[in-house]
């Protein structure tokens, strides 16, 4: 609450101070963990170097906490100058209500259409041919993280794909190691399910369901296999009593669990624990079965402002965020993939390089955020929470899932 109050005060100060030449822009985001804060500082430094002032409006808590605050500020007539949101359908209604700045001229001047890779990122910023946001990074969810220490203890080689992992699970259990670490929260379970879908059912079936909302495919044999794999994974994760994703990652780091299904942001935790990719842990994009990654991520939106000076500064900031130097420094600090393919990321570590290779090969899918509305996402997360922590049968879960897809808008 005090943070919120502070940002209101800052917003007030912004209005008073806007007549000065150097423009202060208040930027809200929810990047508050160690690595994330370091990454935001790269943005702020770059913006301050232009002679303007970056007023940091970090909102503690995850996107689920921050998004309502951000949206209610925009709706309530107290907009910040720029804000982070996940690109996708989250801002759709704000754009329709005319509350967000049209960045089409900046995008054309910067040639975004040519440099943004994959182009689906720009598509999800686009509504009716106009561009409303600037994508800044890519996060993908289809990763499996494996603990070398756990496999050493169990005396089996580290698996190279999901099927090997399932086969090795019994050995892990004999060595008193939990095969699969899983935080007991709906979004993590949904993430694991999504990763399994792409690995087991393949991209065509995934696309049919998530993008085209084809309920028949969701009720069909490909997804039957997915739900059976998920039911199997559920058994492997029995006894995983942690809640937060980083607690689950910590089980992999300490070797008390064999593996975790989590997005690429998990490598920040391995980095903090000073573990080395390849010797302490391994990462398998697409669970080693299907080399594809979805391309969710973060984007910045700029609420409409009456002051032409601020509007000009907003456009300047938009151009800055996607400039090559800023993209490199930001994404290296954050451990995420850059949104443009024409920059030098050779300083990135092994897992990031794997991700970059997949991007370069075009193995990309849009993220669920880009195709499903927040409402449908929440319903699916609820179903997953129920499925993973109870003993709902795979068939029942599939039926409910197909039902949700049928009703999705």
């Amino acid at each position: 609450m005090t943070d919120h109050l502070k940002s209101l005060l800052v917003g007030g100060a912004l209005i008073c101070g806007s007549s000065a030449h150097a423009v202060e822009l208040e930027v809200t985001h929810w990047w508050t963990s160690g690595g994330e804060a370091a990454a935001v500082a790269k943005f702020a430094d770059a913006w301050n170097a232009t002679g303007n002032t970056w007023v940091d409006g970090a909102i503690a808590g995850s996107g689920g906490t921050a998004r309502p605050i951000i949206i209610s500020r925009i709706l309530g007539g107290d907009p910040m100058a720029a804000t982070q949101l996940n690109h996708g359908r989250q801002a759709e209604e704000l754009i329709e209500a005319g509350l967000l700045l049209d960045l089409t001229d900046v995008a054309e001047a910067g040639g975004w259409a040519d440099i943004v890779n994959p182009s689906s990122l720009l598509d999800s910023c686009t509504l009716d041919g106009k561009i409303y946001c600037v994508p800044v990074n890519i996060h993908s969810a289809q990763w499996m993280w494996l603990s070398h220490a756990a496999y050493e203890k169990a005396g089996v080689p580290v698996p190279t794909d999901w099927n090997e992992f399932v086969a090795s699970a019994a050995k892990l259990q004999e060595a008193d190691i939990l095969p699969l670490a899983m935080g007991q929260q709906g979004w993590q379970q949904n993430l694991a399910f999504g990763a399994l879908t792409i690995a087991v059912a393949g991209t065509d079936a995934w696309r049919a369901v998530t993008v085209n909302k084809d309920a028949d495919v969701a009720a069909g044999p490909e997804f039957k296999a997915v739900f059976e794999a998920a039911a199997n994974a559920r058994e492997l994760a029995r006894g995983s009593n942690v809640q937060d994703w980083n607690q689950a990652t910590n089980m992999v780091i300490t070797g008390s669990a064999g593996a975790q299904l989590m997005g690429d942001w998990a490598q920040g935790e391995f980095a903090v624990a000073e573990q080395v990719e390849g010797t302490d842990y391994s990462c398998l994009p697409g669970l080693g079965l299907n080399d594809v990654l979805d391309t969710g991520g973060d984007a910045f939106y700029f609420p409409v402002n009456d002051d032409p000076e601020i509007t000009a500064a907003q456009k300047e900031l938009a151009a800055l965020l996607i400039s090559p130097e800023v993209q490199v420094s930001f994404n290296l600090a954050k451990g995420s993939l850059p949104v443009r393919g024409d920059i030098d990321m050779s300083a990135a570590n092994g897992c990031m390089q794997k991700g970059l290779d997949i991007l370069a090969d075009g193995g990309v899918l849009p993220s669920g955020d880009q195709s499903l509305s927040a409402d449908t996402q929440t319903q699916i997360e609820d179903l997953m929470a129920q499925f993973w922590s109870g003993d709902m049968s795979a068939a029942d879960a599939q039926e409910s899932y197909a039902d949700l897809i049928r009703k999705a808008d």
Partner: protein, 305 residues
């Protein structure tokens, strides 16, 4: 509920004092207007928009009872209602019972009474979020109560309510009781202190036992105190949200979801205002269904009769 008890006290004064203190009444007009616009107006607005297909922004796209049909078709809502029913009934009975027992014990003129009173009331000074976190740690099997008892040598001791979908709501209940009982105890104690000493002397002369005096004489005399306690507990039950968020986040799975959490999450996280409004309207309905007959019995029927 508080408005109901306020109106009852003004009801008794109304016949001859309507125009007395008119300055004070004039001064309270802004408050009355705020209550009407914010509470009544806001409630009406919510109910009206629960019949629309509003997503992130309120829109007048009428969909009839669709939101309600979807609501009652959703497992999560049914689980939430069941949880609130279990938590509500247990919390109501146990808080009253424990609160009264503690107050009665303190009232037996024990030594260090004020120290005990402070200890019992202390949890009430903590926010629900702190309470939730503290109990999440205490009930954590790896470094909480279970671990402590096992380290004493009772190896097979198992107490892990928060990770079992069937018992998680009782884990929350423990935390809720820990926090709420102290206040009820203080209210009860104040009520007990209000009982005339002569009553006790009279009971003694008649040779009535202590427990029997409490049950047959003292408790009936404390009726207004019980009503106050009841209102406080009931409003705490309906509001149950932050404790769950801090302690379990609604998990494992959906096992400790509560209606207030459903409302918040569907309004803001799922960006489906219509669904959230429908759920909050159902919460209002359940309160009204319980409140109206009770208020009628408590204030209407008795005073007139």
């Amino acid at each position: 509920m508080t408005t109901a008890s306020d109106s009852s006290s003004s009801m008794t004064k109304r016949p001859n004092r309507l125009f007395k203190n008119w300055m004070a009444k004039l001064a309270s007009v802004p408050m009355i207007l705020t209550a009407l616009v914010v509470f009544v107006g806001g409630t009406a607005w919510t109910i009206v928009y629960s019949f629309t297909g509003s997503r992130m922004l309120p829109k007048t796209k009428w969909v009839g009872f669709d939101q309600y049909e979807r609501l009652w078709d959703t497992d999560r809502w049914i689980i939430s209602i069941k949880n609130l029913a279990i938590y509500g009934s247990c919390s109501m009975i146990l808080t009253l019972f424990l609160g009264f027992c503690l107050a009665a014990c303190l009232d037996r003129k024990i030594r260090y009474e004020s120290a005990f009173r402070t200890i019992f009331l202390y949890p009430f000074a903590l926010s629900f979020v702190v309470t939730g976190l503290v109990w999440q740690w205490i009930l954590n099997p790896d470094f909480g109560l279970q671990n402590v008892v096992r380290s004493w040598g009772w190896e097979s001791f198992t107490f892990n309510p928060l990770n079992d979908p069937n018992t998680v709501i009782y884990g929350i209940l423990i935390a809720g009781l820990w926090q709420g009982t102290g206040l009820i105890m203080c209210i009860m104690l104040a009520g007990l202190r209000g009982i005339d000493e002569d009553i006790w002397k009279a009971a003694k002369v008649d040779g009535i036992g202590t427990v029997k005096t409490y049950v047959m004489v003292i408790i009936p005399m404390m009726r207004p105190v019980f009503v106050t306690a009841l209102v406080l507990i009931a409003s705490g039950i309906i509001k149950l949200y932050d404790l769950v968020v801090a302690q379990t986040g609604g998990g494992p799975g959906l096992a400790s979801e509560v209606p207030a959490k459903y409302v918040i999450e569907y309004m803001f996280r799922a960006q489906n205002l219509g669904q959230g409004f429908a759920a909050s309207t159902m919460m209002l309905c359940s309160v009204v269904i319980i409140l109206i007959p009770w208020a009628y019995l408590e204030f209407g029927g008795k005073k007139r009769g």
